[in-house]
Every structure is written in structure tokens, then in C-alpha cells.
């Protein structure tokens, strides 16, 4: 039995066909839906592709890169310089390719410099890179070019959507083939034990740097096209630190175990974000955080992991440890109750000062809920399996 290559031909066919159907649907979508949904979908595609390209490198190796915003920002600025409001210097496809190349080179440099750092140090350094570039650009724009922001030429929403779709497909294909190739295997072994990987003949540094740089290409390309959507950009917008954390959260939210985990995670997450932003503009961050915490506690292996466990238990009957304890049911209900309460209150009195009080109450409820969880965990009701991966 060959484990990494095709598990079975039939399954591969089903996947292939359903993917083609999804792709066809995505390609013809702008003709059916309104412009709001096209824009929304552009954002969702962007988040998915950034998450997937983050996962190419950080998923198997466990090196948590927070440089995503830097690569994205580099793409945005490439566009801002070469595709300004005053008229394009170069044709757009070329600009996107150039943005990808610049991100690739930045990835090579950063990778060569930092990939000897491990764990949290790597995360901090890569995040530092985002802030460094942001601050430098800010200084440069203020002092040298005497501006702060730049205007980028606008494009038709549908056009942006299609370009994003092309980059999206390219990202997915690259991610898929890297995962399937011996590089994917090498990355995984590096994540498991770097020293052992080096001693069985893997050029650890080269593999890490190259794949890191490849993963940067798509973020840069996405940034280049998004610049036209953003229209006005400045260093704060282009190098938004939040974009460094989003792919991490989205990938974990979806589950890193499977190829489609980060895709589903990013899609649901991006939609959820949009939904919460429009429905609860004031409680958006709070609710968002709450959802995230719930996911971490109840779905340690992400959405996909949970679905798989559900399917498995449906197929094989209840498994050992799969029956949720009373604690979990209780605290889950508690969480839902808290969520519902906050929904009603926030819906009714949007914009009033009463939010501060309500926010306080809800916070207390949530804290109480976690205290109960902790207490019960202490009493041994919760097994470690629910928290660990």
C-alpha cells in the first residue's frame, strides 16, 4: 500500500470532478450574483489563498511565520508604484508577476536570515519584519517623497475578482503539488525532527528557504491586485499586522491535518468575519474572539478534524472518548446562551452607551463560564485529549 500517493483512483476522480464543478461555479459567478457578493468573494478568495500559502511552509514545518503581512504589503506597494492613479507604468499582469518575484526575493532573504531561529523567536522576528518595513516606509514616504499615502488606479470589481481567482488557483495547485512531492515529505520531516532530517540527507536550510520564498510569492501577488481594491494605501494599510495573524488563525480554525482544512477554515472564517462586522459592528471583535476561543477549546483539530470525528463516529458507532461529558455539554450550552444574550442586546441598541454595561455583563458571564470549565477540568471531568492536539 502506498500511503502518500493516490489512496485510490476513484476517490481522486470524485475530488477532481467536484473541484472542477466548484471552479466552474466560481468562474461564472459574477454573472449570477450582485457586485456585493463579488467583492465579498474576492476577499474570501484572498484570505483562502493567503492562508493556504502560509500553510505551504508553516503547516508541515511548524515554523510559525508572521511575515504574511510583509509579503502582502510588498505586493501592495509594488502595485502602488507601478499602477498609480495617474496611469499604469506596466500592464497589470506583469505588475502582479513582479510583485510575486519581489516577495519571493524578500522571502529568500528573510528565510536565509531567520530560519535558523526556532519556535517563538522565528515568529517574533518575522513579525518584527512587518513592523520594520511599515515604519521604514512611513519614514521614507514622509521624509523623502513627502507624502503619506498613495492612490492606486481602480479596476472593475469583476476584473479584480478574476485576477484573484487565477492567483487562487495557482496557489492551490502549487500547495497541492508541493504537499504531494518529496519536498512536502521533507518539510514534514523537518517539522517532526529537524536534526534527524538533516542526517538522512535532507538539505534542511535549502528546503526551508525555498519553500518559504515560494509561499511568499502568492501573498505578494494577492497584495498587488488588492491594492486596486483598496484604492488609497499607506504603510499602515498595506502592512496591517492583523494580516499576519489571520492566516495562522484561519489555518488552525480549519485544521492543519488535511489539505482542505485551511481552505475550509479560511472560507468560513472570512465569511464569519464579514457577517459579524455587518451584523454586530460594535461587538464584532468581542464575538469574534469568543468564537475563536470556543473553537480552540472544543475543536482542537479544527473544523475539519471535528467533521472527521463526527463522520467516524456515525460510521462506526460511538467511539471511546467521543461521548462528550456533561461538563462539555453544559459549558457549550452556557457559551451559546451567552452568545444569544449578547446578540439580542447588541441588536436592539446599536450605538447606545449601554453597550459598555452590557459588554461588562457579558464579559463576566464568559469569565464565569471559563472558571467553571477550569474548575471542572481540575476536578478531572475534562480529559487532556480535548485540549491537546
Amino acid at each position: 500500500m502506498d500511503i502518500t500517493t493516490f489512496t485510490s483512483n476513484k476517490r481522486f476522480q470524485i475530488w477532481g470532478i467536484s473541484l472542477l464543478v466548484v471552479l466552474a461555479a466560481l468562474a461564472t459567478l459574477p454573472q449570477w450574483v450582485g457586485s456585493y457578493y463579488v467583492v465579498l468573494l474576492t476577499f474570501i478568495l484572498m484570505y483562502i489563498l493567503i492562508t493556504v500559502s502560509w500553510t505551504i511552509f508553516s503547516g508541515p514545518t511548524g515554523y510559525m511565520s508572521l511575515a504574511s503581512a510583509a509579503f502582502f504589503g510588498v505586493g501592495v506597494y509594488t502595485s502602488a508604484i507601478l499602477f498609480p492613479m495617474t496611469g499604469a507604468v506596466l500592464p497589470l499582469p506583469l505588475i502582479i508577476v513582479i510583485a510575486g518575484i519581489i516577495s519571493f526575493i524578500l522571502g529568500l532573504l528573510v528565510g536565509a536570515l531567520t530560519l535558523r531561529l526556532k519556535g517563538i523567536y522565528f515568529a517574533i522576528f518575522t513579525f518584527g519584519l512587518v513592523l520594520l518595513i511599515q515604519r521604514f516606509l512611513l519614514w521614507f514616504e514622509m521624509n523623502i517623497t513627502a507624502t503619506r499615502g498613495r492612490f492606486v488606479a481602480t479596476l472593475d470589481n469583476n476584473y479584480i475578482y478574476y485576477v484573484m481567482l487565477v492567483i487562487f488557483v495557482a496557489t492551490l495547485l502549487t500547495a497541492y503539488f508541493i504537499r504531494r512531492s518529496r519536498f512536502g515529505l521533507a518539510l514534514q520531516s523537518i517539522g517532526e525532527n529537524e536534526e534527524a532530517a538533516a542526517h538522512i540527507g535532507i538539505n534542511v536550510t535549502l528546503v526551508k528557504v525555498i519553500i518559504f520564498a515560494i509561499s511568499a510569492v502568492f501573498m505578494g501577488a494577492a497584495g498587488a491586485i488588492m491594492a486596486s481594491k483598496l484604492i488609497y494605501i499607506d504603510p499602515y494599510i498595506a502592512f496591517n499586522p492583523l494580516l499576519s495573524f489571520m492566516p495562522v488563525l484561519m489555518a488552525i480554525f480549519g485544521g492543519l491535518g488535511q489539505f482542505y482544512g485551511p481552505i475550509i477554515g479560511a472560507a468560513v472564517f472570512a465569511y464569519l468575519q464579514e457577517f459579524l462586522k455587518t451584523e454586530f459592528p460594535f461587538a464584532y471583535m468581542f464575538t469574534f474572539g469568543l468564537v475563536l476561543v470556543m473553537v480552540m477549546v472544543f475543536m482542537p483539530s479544527g473544523l475539519v478534524g471535528m467533521i472527521q470525528r463526527l463522520l467516524a463516529s456515525l460510521k462506526e458507532g460511538p467511539q471511546e472518548k467521543s461521548t462528550p461529558s456533561w461538563t462539555l455539554i453544559f459549558s457549550f450550552l452556557f457559551g451559546i446562551l451567552g452568545g444569544l444574550v449578547s446578540w439580542f442586546i447588541f441588536r436592539e441598541r446599536r450605538g447606545a452607551r449601554v453597550h459598555l454595561k452590557v459588554g461588562g455583563v457579558v464579559t463576566i458571564i464568559v469569565i464565569a463560564f471559563y472558571l467553571i470549565l477550569l474548575l471542572l477540568a481540575y476536578l478531572g471531568e475534562l480529559r487532556s485529549g480535548y485540549f491537546g492536539i
Binding site: 514534514q188 534527524a196 542526517h199 538522512i200 538539505n203
Partner: protein
Amino acid sequence: MPRGVPREINVRILEGEGVTKYFGGLAAVSNVDFHVDEGEIVGLIGPNGAGKTTLFNLISASLVPKPGVIKFKGENITGKKPYQICRMGVARTFQMVKIFTNMPVLENVRLGSFFGTLPGMSSADIAREAAELLEFVGLSAMSATPAKDLTLANQKRLEVARALATRPELLLLDELMAGLNATEMAQAMELVKRIRDKGITIVMIEHVMKAIMSVCERIIVLHHGEKIAEGTPREIANSKKVVEVYLGEQADAGS
């Protein structure tokens, strides 16, 4: 017990000249000269902290000797990278087993063939070779098991199989017997001999005297980073200096 396969010429597969490694002010390995002949099983012994694993790390390029020169098949390999050393034909195992725990057993071995050898092997060849190696170390039945679910003895076998998958000419075994019970140890000793019979030269670090005495043809003794003795098992067992610094009470316990 046959003492080694007949050899016409003694070709030095591995040589070290004045190999030294300081950690801060402490000489972990100090001015050690050594050589290993093709087809030999050489034992490397010494009390804890003698510098045995450091010497292995120097040979396999985890560390770089300073000063000192290490030659593999006459070529100076000092300063090369671990993956280069591996592809040249030096494989190793680790004192604390370092397998890829979340991968299936077969995958661990396949990785060795994929990267440890020169490119050009088809995946069918690699799969066949991996299956053969699992058979060789006795893990065929567990090829789909995640490596973390193996017993320690089997994990050590897996590590050996993964090292062999890189097609080494020289295999460095770091405490293969540690933590094994009597039966497993006997199997491991058997395995070491079978690897030698394949024509692979072996250097092994070992604390279990019984194993070292019965398997090795030559033994090098380190103490405080220095080589204090070298010779056949009998010579070592009878060397006053060695008994003084190292064997001590273990001499009766082991033999």
C-alpha cells in the same frame, strides 16, 4: 564465533587526526586520532561525559572539529554539512531515538531512500527497497503503524532501517542497546552483525559491555575527551588503565 569476515586489504574508511572540540573552556573531545577500517565493527566506549556522542556529532557533521581533520574514504569531510555527509555514505542513529513519530513506519524509511541517496531512484524502487529494509530489521508487520506507537526496541530498529535506507558505507550507532531487555538486546546484536555482513562498516557507542565485547572487533576508549586505549576486546578488558577509569565494577557485571 567468527572474528570478522576475511579481508584482503585494510582500507581506511574513516580517519580522524587531532580531532578536538571545545564547549566553552571544556574540551569535550581533545586531540583524538582514530581510524576505522572498511568492514569493521568498532566499539566506542567510555564513562558518561567522555565525549563519545560528541565524537559522533563531529563525524556526522552536527559539529565541526576545531582543530582537527576528519577524512572519509581519504576525502577531507571537515566542514561539510550533515546532509552532504549522509549522501557521501555516512548514516547515524541517535542516543535518544529521533524518528518521525507522526509518520507511518514505512514513510520514515522511504524518507531515507528519497534524500539519502543520489537522485534517480524511481518511487517504485524506493518503495521496494523500504519494504526490504523493514523486512531486514523485522518491522514488516508494522509498516503502516505510526512510528510513535512502536516500542522502544522497534523504534530503534526503525531508526536503523531509516539510516540503512540512505545506503551508507559507514553506520554510526549511538547506544543501540540502551533500554532494551535481554531478548531485544540479543536481537539487536544479531542485527548489527547482519548489517556488517552486508558490507557496511559500523562504529557503535555502547554501555552494555556484553554487547560490545561480543560484537566488536576493535574498541576505542575515551575518557575526559581523550583516547586512552584502543585494541581488541580482550586487550581492552585486560588493560589496567581502562579497568581503572571505566570498567571497574561493571567488568564483572557485564561479562
